[in-house]
């Protein structure tokens, strides 16, 4: 043991001496590869992105310092607010639907029945399909002439709908495809949590006179709450960030009817050739997501930590 090992209640000087000791240097050396990798793939792009947001930047002209000019532009654009609203509606609706579907199927799969493992596999399958394949398949399902949905409407005697090209249907259609692809994540986490609920509690509650609804409300739900909160946080952040499905299915259209922030940032950067503005939107998005994450975790700590 090195003499430089810090003692409890030791002075700051002793702690610095420890940091520079031989033992400590070896520790830092072992950490170095990870730190370098993190800096290259994570820290550097974030700092570069933030710096970029203060410039007018495109591939053709030299950079021009704008200060907060890009931010002023964004907040003055009506379409930005519209895109922001779309992003929240899409994220909120997706997460709520995925959680509800996931919970429903988890409750079904938690029961004993013949063919349960096959049903579980089939229900998990969407989660394994790449987004690009999901997008192409659902484009076919929503196709005006050949799609299944219009086929059903036709059979029932309703008019066909232009799902992906009519303003109010476009966002709904991509949400549906996204929910189908991602609900198994909720399902499997809920199912895992349900397996961890002691059966004794259900039995005690049954002896205590509980109905099925009581069992769900007073035993199942409280046990699912902690994992539900964490899963919801993760899925919210993933959904806010999601790009592929919307880009392939509608590219944010018609107009900006299904436009969400990630696609909007891409369009500003690579279609409008305005990397500075795109970077500023990305910074705004980063702040929103960090704020959401922090508030959510605080609520989680109050809710679960208090118990």
């Amino acid at each position: 043991m090195s003499n430089a090992t810090p003692t409890e209640g030791g002075s700051i000087i002793e702690e610095y001496r420890y940091l520079l000791s031989k033992e400590s240097v070896w520790g830092w050396l072992f950490l170095l590869p990870t730190l370098v990798a993190l800096a290259v793939v994570s820290v550097f792009p974030i700092i570069r992105g933030i710096l970029l947001s203060f410039y007018e930047y495109n591939a053709l002209r030299p950079d021009v310092w704008l200060g907060l000019g890009n931010y002023a532009t964004i907040f003055g654009l009506p379409e930005f607010w519209n895109v922001l609203k779309n992003t929240f509606v899409w994220s909120f609706a997706s997460v709520v639907m995925m959680a509800a579907l996931g919970l429903g199927f988890a409750l079904l799969l938690d029961r004993e029945f013949k063919g349960r493992s096959i049903a579980t596999t089939l229900l998990l399958l969407p989660w394994t399909i790449p987004f690009i394949a999901v997008a192409l398949n659902w484009n076919l399902l929503f196709d005006f002439n050949l799609g299944m949905f219009n086929g059903i409407l036709n059979l029932l005697g309703f008019e066909r709908i232009d799902w992906l090209s009519r303003g109010r249907y476009a966002l709904f259609s991509v949400t549906l495809a996204y929910v189908w692809r991602n609900f198994p994540f909720f399902m499997i986490t809920f199912l895992a949590a349900m397996k961890g609920i002691p059966q004794d509690l259900y039995e005690a509650a049954r002896v205590d006179g509980s109905t099925r609804l009581d069992l769900f409300r007073h035993i199942t739900l409280p046990f699912l709450q902690p994992i539900g909160i964490v899963t919801t946080l993760l899925m919210s952040l993933w959904t806010l960030n999601h790009f592929t499905l919307i880009y392939v299915m509608t590219s944010g259209g018609p107009g900006n009817a299904s436009m969400v922030l990630p696609v909007y940032i891409y369009r500003q950067a690579f279609r409008q050739n305005d990397f500075g503005l795109a970077a500023a939107i990305a910074v705004v998005m980063l702040i929103i997501m960090m704020g959401y994450g922090l508030v959510y975790l605080r609520l989680y700590q109050e809710e679960v930590g208090g118990k």
């Binding site: 004794d200 509690l201 039995e203 005690a204 002896v207 205590d208």
Partner: protein, 408 residues
Amino acid sequence: MARILFDEVTKIYGDDTLAVDDFDLEIEDGEFLTLVGPSGSGKSTLLRMVAGLEDITEGSIHIGDTVVNNLPPRSRDIAMVFQSYALYPHLTVRENMAFGLKRSTDLSDPEINDRVEEAAAMMGIEPHLDQKPKHLSGGQRQRVATGRAIVRDPGVFLFDEPLSNLDAKLRKHMRTELQRIQNQLDTTTIYVTHDQEEAMTMSDRIAILNYGELQQVGSPRTVYNEPENVFVAQFIGSPSMNMFVSTLDTDANRFVGDIDVSIDPERASAIAQNATSDELLLGIRPEHVTVHLEAVEESVPASVDIIEPLGSNDLLYFDLEDGTGVEDVIADDVSIGEDEEKDEEEYKVFIQPDSVPIEYEDSGELVYLTFDTEHMHVFDPRTGENIDVETATRTTVDAQTETAGDDD
């Protein structure tokens, strides 16, 4: 309050796992009955069938005058305490105790609160009423679980190994607490345990089970003093009964073999009549063996294995020269209990502390044993039955008759 009747109850899990086999038993109103047996004996299954947590394959269970086979647990007027306590972790102690009352009665909130506080006072948990279970110790959780059962004032209490998660001292304390409460409330109780000591100390009657079959039911003293078969003899009593293998010589009225003892001619001929085998098992409890340092009349030499100090007395483990293993003579289909199957003929005797010098341990130095044949049981190794019980009972009856005659 209610009596409970098991009428030819059978439970088969899946296609062929027989958990309870044709079980008949009547439990009186207000009685404290303990179901005891080793793991897999079916005792918990029986309790869960009474609770309605397990379906009954055949037969019927009556609580009071009602057949409850098809009633859900909430309609059976029962309360159950689980081994794990099964306290709702997100509810406070008060809410845990009120949970059942809110669902099974029409009582108002203030009435429920009064009942909860009354039960909490009875269990000594009032200071913890507003705490969550995770902040309580094991003993306190056990009290809450019991409190949650008594607050409902049910017709029947069901206890599923409720003390097995507590340390030895607390377990003993809670035994008396539970007995006190049961006496106070006079509620019919079925108590499941694998701990025969718990069964002996708490119950009005004990039902001993093995492989889903009822072996014997009776008061703690009856099952201890008059075990009907070799399984009950081995299972009840700690340390367990010594089993010696000997042959009955009816001419000499003596047992000859592991131990040589003489018995009276009448008893010898009764045993000979009941026996289906030459070699018989002689069961003698450790307290009915006496150790001498010098050979005396009718004594059997033995070597000392180990002497275990227990406090008020010591337990001496001994070996017999050429002792026959019980498993060598017992029929394959006769169960003698896992402990006996596992260990190599461990014979035990209680002695006064320091009455045998410690140097005798494992030294080859011999001690001499005599046996109290009055308290000796004789089992048939082919059937496992106690073939001496009738004689013992008749002896008691004869003695009583004689005493009555004397009084005349």
